[in-house]
Point group: C2
Chain length 660, copies 2
Amino acid sequence: MKYRFGRPFPTDAVIKQVPLSSGSPAHFSLSREGELVTLSYPLSEGDAVYGLGEQMRGMNKRGWRYESWNLDDPIHHESRTNLYGAHNFFLVFGRECFGVFVDCAGRVEFDVGFTDRNVLAVTAKDFDLYLFEGASPLEIVREFRALIGRSYIPPKWAFGFAQSRWGYKTEADIREVYENYEKAGLPLDMLFLDIDYMERFKDFTVDKTRFPDLKAFSAEMKKKNIRLVPIIDAAVKVEKGYPVYEEGKKKGYFCTDEKGKPFIAGVWPGNSVLPDVLNPEARRWFGRKYKILLDKGIEGFWNDMNEPVLFYSEAGLKEALRLASETKEIACLDDYERVSHAFFSLQNNDDDYRTFYHETENGRIVHEAVHNLYGYNMTRAAAEYFAEYAPKKRFLIFSRSSCVGMHRYGGIWTGDNSAWWSHLLLNLQQLPGLNMCGFLFAGADLGGFGGDTTEELLLRWLALGVFVPLMRNHCNGSRPQECYRFTRTDVFRNILGIRYSLLPYLYSEFVRCAFENDMLFKPLSFCYPEDRRAATVEDQLLVGDSLMIAPVYTQNAAGRYVYLPERMKLIRMKAGDRFTEQVLEKGEYYIPVALDEVVFFLRSGKVLPLAKPAKNTAELDEKNLTWVKFTETPVQFTLCRDGGTSEIGKEDFETVTVEP
Amino acid sequence: MKYRFGRPFPTDAVIKQVPLSSGSPAHFSLSREGELVTLSYPLSEGDAVYGLGEQMRGMNKRGWRYESWNLDDPIHHESRTNLYGAHNFFLVFGRECFGVFVDCAGRVEFDVGFTDRNVLAVTAKDFDLYLFEGASPLEIVREFRALIGRSYIPPKWAFGFAQSRWGYKTEADIREVYENYEKAGLPLDMLFLDIDYMERFKDFTVDKTRFPDLKAFSAEMKKKNIRLVPIIDAAVKVEKGYPVYEEGKKKGYFCTDEKGKPFIAGVWPGNSVLPDVLNPEARRWFGRKYKILLDKGIEGFWNDMNEPVLFYSEAGLKEALRLASETKEIACLDDYERVSHAFFSLQNNDDDYRTFYHETENGRIVHEAVHNLYGYNMTRAAAEYFAEYAPKKRFLIFSRSSCVGMHRYGGIWTGDNSAWWSHLLLNLQQLPGLNMCGFLFAGADLGGFGGDTTEELLLRWLALGVFVPLMRNHCNGSRPQECYRFTRTDVFRNILGIRYSLLPYLYSEFVRCAFENDMLFKPLSFCYPEDRRAATVEDQLLVGDSLMIAPVYTQNAAGRYVYLPERMKLIRMKAGDRFTEQVLEKGEYYIPVALDEVVFFLRSGKVLPLAKPAKNTAELDEKNLTWVKFTETPVQFTLCRDGGTSEIGKEDFETVTVEP
């Protein structure tokens, strides 16, 4: 059922035409305040609310409020109400079971039992509301996912391990990291190039002094089965003679201010302009720029700063400077607060998002109204061009900012997180919500992007990361955290090896989930809906059809508690080819988990294919699989055995019957 | 054993003379870099490190680094290395068992297996090092506590429930809160006055328009058994004609800059000066100022902003303004970063702490070298004067900033926390460390000071708070969180009632711990040192001699896991006079805990006295106690039955024999 409120800007989130229903949406009561519409639903004591993509807090979103308003906050803590993505789908599971998608380009607020424990309220203007009814959470998710279209599938090598750091500046830096991984026998598939590879942070340029011949370097690394993955930022530097700037300016492809002049804001390159990716012509133009790097042999990209981030607007900064220069003497605290606030509030200021415009197929529109579509359409620009550049080839593309709809074009990482134990747990808790909203290829910066990680935190985080599609160790200028930087390189080697052993399973299940609109990561209650205890478990996940995980996410732990909603087999893995098995009955357990092992659970009646640990995806032997089994009857498992770089067809799936 | 490094400034932390030992301290290897001394200890795999007072992270401090450098950071997250207090005692428990006290007035760094998982390193200059050997952690703590002297004991009414908020501005505001508590039947003992009661934030003034007659109001409230507890800030407003400023300036009682002029910094009153509480004469002078409020019937105070906080130094702000006014055009990001950084870095800037001085008995000394003594001596100023004002009377005094030594003069609250679930757990984890360092009267802002609390978070936090000596609900200008603001006032009433039922136990145990240098809150491993599993439990505490607590600290939980290191009796309390009992064997449990109950455990062979719930401490009936028992033989329990407001003598203790 679809309902319309106000005049929604088309988001292209859904791929099917749904006729508008008349009357009021079921479940909700409606109220209006100006243009804002609030839909309220009375929550019952046992109701849980799942969804909202990468939002903060638990899998059950009840007990807090959230906003869809894409924002970069690298030190997001529990008070945060919004992050990098606008993932406006959720479902209520309890007394009733139904799903809701708020298809909206602008701000949406979700009060999930925050103001009143027993009231769920959604507030927005100009949106389409889709309601989904179904017998179970999973059925509802599948209905929604069918509506929004098939999730992006990256090349198979993108499931390998990636090392990244904001701080690698030169070819020599990258080469050194590669050599250290090689020397230490640590598996690796990708090395990421952060903004320093560019010439003064100019998109689609390469600093020649740092990377004299990126094409040759990329080819050399590819021979070693390593892909280089450069970053692309949203904003384009204002610089005379810089072709991207000159061209875009001439053609009117940048967002403009009220007077029709390019809107100028400060980002990494200094004063910059924003490509108007909501203008289809400008989007095509921006997408074609990726050719510059594709021609150098690059096959993967990450799109960043596309919320879009504004360190300052030119106008805002001038005003702050003016205010400061007028203040000669501080008479009272108010003076200080006024001036310092002018600087503190420059970054990503809501007011600035009201001062620039897009030229869309639906006319000129203020950014604020379509804010959440920006990163989505930047990534769409790239993906649409890739399809033109090499029609059947799969490229790696993932983005920091996103919106439902973008899930068809690329993946995401969950943005700039911190080296916190709580962000390890957040990583786990974000995954089912992302899957519900179509984002299957996703991951968090393992070890934490900001702040200083520790060996223990990184090892525990990797023990979750081995199950997550995008497995990237990435950090900023703080403590170096490559896997060879600590005391126990042997343990890192074993844990990365486990990732490769799991790949036949993870990749096959990932592709299946994309084709079947299934979730790779599910809360326990999605598979055991009758189990009241399972519904309260917030730190375990089902991964694909066969596995349950329960990673350790606290410091100095010798293990953790695990709830088994059914009889399962505990697998204790020291390396991909060294593990023990133990059958456990349904119930509550304290499970010891050492720092040098990955512990997980095989469900009843299921099997798990394991490859031998490998150096990289290209060298992975997927022919000779070991089957871990917990079954007394033959079980079928469907492997995806495609080449990993082109379109996947029916012929790529092989259903294997595994004997007990 | 005592060792000296450099020329330590006397902190008066210890009360006993210990002769200096020659040679090197046991356990550690020593290295020097300039004046800095580093003591390193090789950690074994199972070693735990306890202590460091209110520092972040778990009870076992291993796996992170910490600094003693008193600082106000109201949104302290996992990356934080220092908070409000300098609590330089820790002990290693594992292969060896020993304690360490770094008696130092300045900065101390503790790298507890952060840089290298297996190395503990302490770095400082100018300090005395005390080493403690003992058979058990508790024995070592008692040695240390005997050295630093008996902990502060507040009046008994300070163990009642307190409501506070930065935002109550007038007598009418306070009255309204009182009346709402009264009307809702919610117990209450104290109402706090935050900075708005003062005349333009001037210490020891009362805004006459807001509180026309504080003395009368205070007397009226006291008749209702409510104490008003005003705040005192460290900094004194620079204002002509303001007696405290004029007097202090004339007598040279404020900290001075390099040129000997009063050092000026911005705090709540705007430009302010800092009383030189390290100058004994100035300290006496500042302490005598409390008389102004004592004479109005005030019997309790909280000392704040005494790290001391500097929003800016006059010199720093002028420099930032100059920089801004010189910057007319932003050519590149560096320009923006330079100017904005100048404003971002004004607050509590390390450089500023190097630009002002104290006149001490040991001569003129730069603030940086004695930074951690400031809050301590501000509170000592008050406490020393109270002893003069009414020699045998107990006053309530607690401070935000502190240092070992201050524990003899007052309590603390753990500063500005946030309405985060992680800060509920942090509250629990800080308590044993604080007890180890002598701080028995302590507590956190229940519900969270900053950010918006929720009904669920506040209820769960109160279910911990009922066991904590200082039980205060305090918040800033965000969502109001008085106990009558939510849907289930009846549940709040019951939970506050439980506090009063527990008071005979809590108060008696508190006083015993103060007299016996015991800890009110202990990690499990302190009582079950042979139990390897107990050593890894980071979210349960022993409270006094009889109880173990295991509060719920996660959102949407229906219960939690609990480890029982021995046979215990589970007490499930809906109200102080309504509870059930259930015997559980040693082991691991998942324990359901509803939002409307307080669940805790009575140890084997122990008893718990319970009073009837009361409106306030004055109306508490301590004669008619119910004894909850888990014993098969008679058990003795010592009650402290003093009047609650004057010195406690042997005659105030009554040992009761409780029959099974």
